[in-house]
Amino acid sequence: MNVIVCLKQVPDTESVIKVKPDGSGIETEGLKYVINPYDEFAVEEALRTKEKLGGEVTIVCVGPDRAVESIRMALAMGADKAVHLNDPALFEGDALTTAKALAAAIKQMPYDLIFCGKQAVDDDMAQVGPALAQLLGIPHVSVINKFEVLEGGRAARVTRQVEGGEEVVECPLPALFTCQKGLNEPRYASLPGIMKAKKKPLETKDLAALGLSADEVGAKGAKVKAVRYYSPPERQPGRIIEGETVEERVAQLVKLLRDEAKVI
């Protein structure tokens, strides 16, 4: 099985995110970057598939120079090689331009399966996976929490949680799947893995190598543009309900919820 994993490097979810005073963007100074948590499920599922069925796992990543660290981490987990799409013309786009860049790279490789995280925890767009599948002309199933390749390797059976229940879906391969929490427990990279990763092939491609023109991708090609960034309204501090007994405090709470908040 040739498996591709789309990977994005994002700020750690613990990060304190500050909006620039002029609202033009987010302060990136001092941010710690990691593999997008949902992409870790994608890497892990790809590795498990390779372990069961043989083949190769290739990481494809759109990102600047700093993304190399996360790519190497995925290689350290066990991926075989990586393609790094690193060109400013590709950045500052929208989900569709990112999908176009990934599609251009992926069309140059053989594949049976593509795993993506369900969304990136920086922009929370949750679009690249389905859009990429559309551009490649392959079927997709999103937010899977269980994955199995069926006999013959020509189809997969997956489970996904939807509102109100769980769906079991079958899909012919090649196909793309976006990964939801609960699919697997991503492994930690071992020390030998980290050492091996340094020697694994990591190819860098730019706009020309992808055969794309500047106005198809990045900021020029984007149909969704950021106008301004702003901070969420601060929640006003509330109050701790005081009282001698639990009964007293609960009675007060009920009164406040009914009369002040009017939510019950």
Partner: protein
């Protein structure tokens, strides 16, 4: 030019966010001097079309029917909707930011090569029908206002971002059209749907949520939260700690790697209030925190807090609410 709202439904029940979108979309359509259409895809979905016809209300409900649309698949729905959009050229298309909406909308956007903003909590339109949208990023730690190039301009809307409209006395007409989908165009197949929802409302749609965290200590202890939820007609949520401990299923998780909820009331029991949890419930109208740790960060975000052992408080709260109901 028109604004379209994609109306999602399952077994005759329309997703709550679709009603909310109809209300907001009516406002946008009026501002831009445009028509509003509700678009229903399905098979045997007349009752859905009749129901949504009163909300907004739209100029019309487009009911698109085909055997291939009986079950949602991105192939069938994506093709039919994209073809319809190409045919009728609406200026704006709105989807609920539900799992289906977030699956379908990027497929349609990719087919049409148009812009799509996900999980929007604010929408506006100018006189020329150009949409601007406000959406959370970094799990709601920041927000961005976006504009669009080209047409159509699409957005998926977060449940509870907009209020429920009241139904109009006058219902819009329903226009029925048939869709053509060749069987080979639908590549995925839903083999099984196992209903897991009980009587309680769905988390992202609930008005009240009772939620438990690490302080619950064991799976069976969630029973006291379920009893409280029953009195309140609430949904029951959980923090990542409770889910990772195996006490509650992933589908109950509220937080950055779980669901984002925006109820009127969120009661957090034994939840410390980590940033990632707050990301999932920080836009709740009112937050109540019950935790025996006075230093728990959740108290800084809660409107009302009780610093006490939740096992002492919750049963008393349930009793008090039962009394009040009687």
């Amino acid at each position: 030019m028109a604004i379209w709202v994609f109306v999602e439904h399952r077994e005759g029940t329309i997703r709550k966010v679709c009603y909310q979108m109809m209300g907001k979309a009516r406002e946008l359509a009026d501002k831009a001097g445009q028509e509003l259409w509700a678009v229903v895809l399905g098979q045997g979905a007349e009752s859905v079309a009749e129901e949504i016809a009163a909300y907004g209300p739209p100029q019309k409900v487009l009911l698109v029917e085909s055997e291939a649309l009986a079950q949602y698949t991105s192939d069938a729905y994506g093709k039919v909707l994209a073809d319809l959009i190409a045919q009728h050229q609406p200026a704006v298309v709105l989807f609920g930011a539900t799992l289906t909406g977030k699956d379908l909308s990027p497929c349609v956007a990719a087919r049409l090569g148009c812009g799509l903003a996900t999980d929007c909590v604010g929408l506006d339109i100018d006189g020329q029908g150009n949409l601007t949208a406000r959406r959370p990023i970094y799990a709601g730690k920041a927000y961005v206002e976006v504009s669009f190039e080209g047409r159509p301009q699409m957005a998926s809307v977060r449940p509870n971002a907009f209020p429920m409209p009241t139904p109009a006395a006058q219902k819009a007409p329903v226009e029925r059209v048939k869709a053509e989908v060749k069987p080979e165009e639908v590549r995925t197949a839903v083999k099984e749907f196992v209903k897991t929802a009980g009587e309680r409302p769905e988390l992202t749609e609930a008005d009240i949520i009772v939620s438990g965290g690490r302080g619950m200590k064991a799976a069976e202890n969630f029973k006291i939260l379920e009893e409280l939820a029953d009195v309140l007609g609430a949904a029951v949520g959980a923090s990542r700690a409770a889910v990772d401990a195996g006490w509650r299923p992933q589908s109950d998780q509220v937080g950055q790697t779980g669901k984002t909820v925006s109820p009127n009331l969120y009661i957090a029991c034994g939840i410390s209030g980590a940033i990632q949890h707050l990301a999932g419930m920080g836009t709740s109208k009112y937050i109540v925190a019950i935790n025996k740790d006075p230093e728990a960060p959740i108290f800084k975000k809660a409107d009302y807090g009780i610093v006490e052992d939740l096992f002492k408080v919750v049963p008393v709260l349930t009793q008090e609410l039962k009394k009040a109901k009687a």
